[in-house]
């Protein structure tokens, strides 16, 4: 039976048709992938199904019945639940409070906290979600926050679940867990619509897949009858290569040198514990490691976003330890931050303004104390075109862009400044395969120009593919160095888990 039928859905935003006569049919009990480039209109389509947006045209049938989803509460009644691309959680509330919000169990007008916590625990056990009902959202990991989002939908009795890019923010371990959970859900009779850019995930868990490109439906396929290459080319509209071509290079002078660095995390505990690291001109050094081993703190310390406790950071021989972020930037460091919303963009500024966040007060963007808007616009136009940032125009606020296009805007800005050291933290998180290919080529280009690149990624694949040397980080220290041309994934994996390496190739 078809549980979801969306027919001829069209949705226009100022300057753009986000959904253009889209068709989507989802069968009961299946995991149905929605695949498409950044800005193709996936989130928009799902927000329509969930009642957050109203379509301009088209009709929706749920379990055969024609419906008007007027709002999220209506969607709830129809059994539709959604886990959003950007989480919808109230930070100071507890897990349970977030889950029951809007449909609280009560006794005599008072919230029945015990009953709620019991129910949350029950559902969480039943689907293997492992959450602590009493924990506060701001104290728990991203992975657990996501499980809370899933619980929110289950608590409301949803049987059609929309997952909007749930794996983009997860570590590989957490992704495995999520995939297991999805299996449990389907076994209990739920239907899942799953948005992801990772073709492997689609091949692994999905039954069918609908591909959309620039707001239009391209096709719906059975996953069994297709493969990754075919999906990629259908989605992008051309052949995509998954391999990166990279020539052997001799690295030059040391650009970044870190000695005995110690950094505390936000709670005051040591996250980086006496770390040494060197990155030379013309090489990409990859940092591999399980999330939470000090990667974030390390990068924040280098870029001046976090104070160090001790140790030295040098750039081209110059001490930059604990300089202000602006001074670090000026001395030749580019940073593609992990959290683009918090660190990468001013969401309410236009794309054009976001492109000059570090350079707005320097010529040619400023003359004396006046901004030169014509220069700023020209610069932005060029970057948007070159990096294929899909936006109606450069005056659009960054907030209105799709997640992947926001990321592309940040990358464009940082790479274009042509810094001596480019720090890229999860640079392709949330990007489609076409965009990933492009970004990878750009990083290698920087290296070939003789720049130093420090790449942090939770995806082992990416680190192995791009890096010239890999530093495996474990509990705040470099546990060992690996040569990606000879190393096997298992070896890196062992180091990441704290094992000792046999072949240390520290050069």
């Amino acid at each position: 039976m078809n549980v979801v039928e969306m027919k001829g859905i069209t949705k226009r935003f100022p300057g753009i048709v986000a959904n253009d006569n889209i068709h989507l049919t989802v069968k009961e009990g299946e995991i149905h992938a929605l695949l498409g480039e950044n800005g193709a209109g996936k989130s928009t389509l799902m927000n329509i199904l969930f009642g957050l947006y109203q379509p301009d045209e088209g009709e929706i049938r749920i379990k055969g019945e024609k419906v008007h989803v007027t709002g999220p509460s209506m969607a709830g009644k129809l059994g539709i639940g959604m886990v959003h691309q950007h989480f919808m959680l109230v930070d100071p509330f507890t897990v349970t409070e977030n889950i029951i919000l809007g449909s609280e169990p009560t006794i005599q007008g008072r919230i029945d906290r015990e009953k709620a916590e019991r129910e949350v625990q029950e559902i969480s056990d039943r689907y293997g979600l492992r959450v602590d009902p009493r924990a506060r959202i701001r104290d728990i990991s991203v992975g657990m926050q996501q499980r809370v989002e899933i619980l929110k939908t289950l608590y409301r009795g949803a049987d059609i679940l929309i997952f909007d890019e749930p794996t983009a923010v997860l570590s590989p371990q957490e992704i495995d867990e999520l995939i297991e959970i999805m299996g449990n859900l389907v076994r209990e009779g739920k239907t899942i619509i799953f948005i992801t850019h990772k073709l492997k995930e689609i091949m692994r868990v999905c039954d069918s897949v609908t591909i959309i490109r620039r707001g239009k439906t391209i096709d719906t396929l059975q996953v069994k009858e297709t493969d990754e290459n075919r999906l990629a080319s259908m989605m992008v509209g051309r052949e995509v290569s998954f391999d990166v071509e990279k020539e052997q290079r001799e690295p030059g002078e040391t650009v970044l040198s870190i000695r005995d660095l110690r950094v505390a995390d936000s709670r005051g505990a040591d996250a980086v514990k006496g770390l040494d690291l060197e990155v030379r001109a013309g090489e990409i050094v990859g940092i591999a490691g399980v999330d939470g081993n000090g990667q974030t703190e390390l990068l924040e310390a280098i870029t001046g976003l976090r104070k160090t406790k001790s140790g030295r950071v040098r750039l081209n021989g110059k001490d930059i330890t604990n300089l202000k972020p602006r001074s670090v930037t000026r001395s030749g460091v580019g940073h593609i931050p992990e959290d683009r919303h918090r660190r990468g963009l001013v969401l309410d500024f236009s794309i054009g303004e976001n492109m000059v966040l570090q350079t707005y007060n320097l010529p040619p963007f400023a003359k004396g104390f006046r901004l030169q808007y014509s220069e700023i616009q020209e610069h932005a136009e060029k970057l948007v075109k070159e990096y294929d940032v899909r936006t109606p125009d450069i005056h659009t606020p960054a907030r209105a862009l799709s997640g992947g296009n926001q990321q592309k805007a940040v990358i464009a800005r940082e790479v274009e400044r042509d810094p001596d050291l480019l720090i890229a933290a999860q640079p392709t998180r949330g990007l489609d395969v076409g965009a990933i290919e492009f970004i990878h080529r750009r990083l290698i280009e920087q290296r070939d120009k003789g720049k130093a690149v420090l790449l942090m990624s939770l995806e082992l694949d990416e680190v192995l593919k791009l890096s010239d040397r890999i530093a495996v980080i474990y509990e705040g220290k470099i546990a060992g160095w690996v040569d990606p041309s000879t190393a096997a994934e298992e070896e890196v994996g062992l180091l990441m888990a704290g094992g000792k390496s046999g072949a240390e190739v520290k050069s």
């Binding site: 969930f50 957050l52 947006y53 109203q54 709002g71 999220p72 509460s73 709830g76 959604m82 959003h84 919808m88 959680l89 109230v90 930070d91 100071p92 509330f93 409070e97 977030n98 919000l101 809007g102 449909s103 609280e104 009560t106 007008g109 008072r110 919230i111 929110k152 907030r399 209105a400």
Partner: protein
Amino acid sequence: MLDVLTNVLQTTVLYATPLILTAIGGLYSERSGVVNIGLEGLMTIGAFTAAVVTLATHSPWVGLLAAVAAGVLMALPHAIASVTFRADQVVSGVAINFLALGVSVYLVKAMYDGAAQTPSVPETLKRLPIPGLDQIPVIGPALFNAFPTTYLAVIVVFLSYYILYKTPFGMRLRAVGEHPRAAETMGVNVFRMRYVAVLISGALASAGGAGLSIAIGSEFNETTVAGHGFISLAALIFGKWHPFGAFGAATFFGFAVSLALIGQIFGLTAYVPSEVLNMLPYILTILALAGFVGRAEAPAAIGKPYETGGR
């Protein structure tokens, strides 16, 4: 010496009462995400209405009720402007302050032959001793022989704590002030919650204002409120947007306001000019409003207009 202590307590309680009511009023509004600079104006309209209606009906209770109704009415434009039309909440609040003061002073002039103040209200609220308790030495006469508004204020504090932290309504209200879109995806009507919150703040702030004209004082003029609304707002911030915190901070501000009086009792004015003592609550207020305290604890979505379907 014990007499002095009783006296200090009594004046503190007296001056703290309107501040407590108003700060709790502000709490509802700000917890739902709507800044309420308009507390001053809401107090003004309350003080004015209470005086005028009590004069006309000879019942301070009717005066108090009328003040509450007037406060709700006065808060309505603030809700419409800042929730429905997504105007700047500070600007809208400031407008409420001007509007309330202008309307009340004008009406006083119109009603009482161009006088600058209302006639003296003979039938003000009277101190209400609680039999037995008021006999406790030292604190009895101070705490248990207070104006009915004081008891009301204390009840409002505890009730508000219960409502905000124990009931679905309160949880939704706080959620709307933290992350309105999350609340909306859970089926909460953001607009309705914010309207209700702003109107409640009007009712309570107005009741606080009434205390100034028919309990502490017995008339209304242009200077009756004299910044008490802003002081309440400061108490709310000092109190970290929590009912008990606001209660404590408002009581402290009440103490600061009564310092001038208390200063005379202690003979403090021999060392510090009374003008300086009078300034104290306002200086504390400026410090609070300028953001030296408490900003980190503010509701996350405060001051941000909400739009359905936006990003």
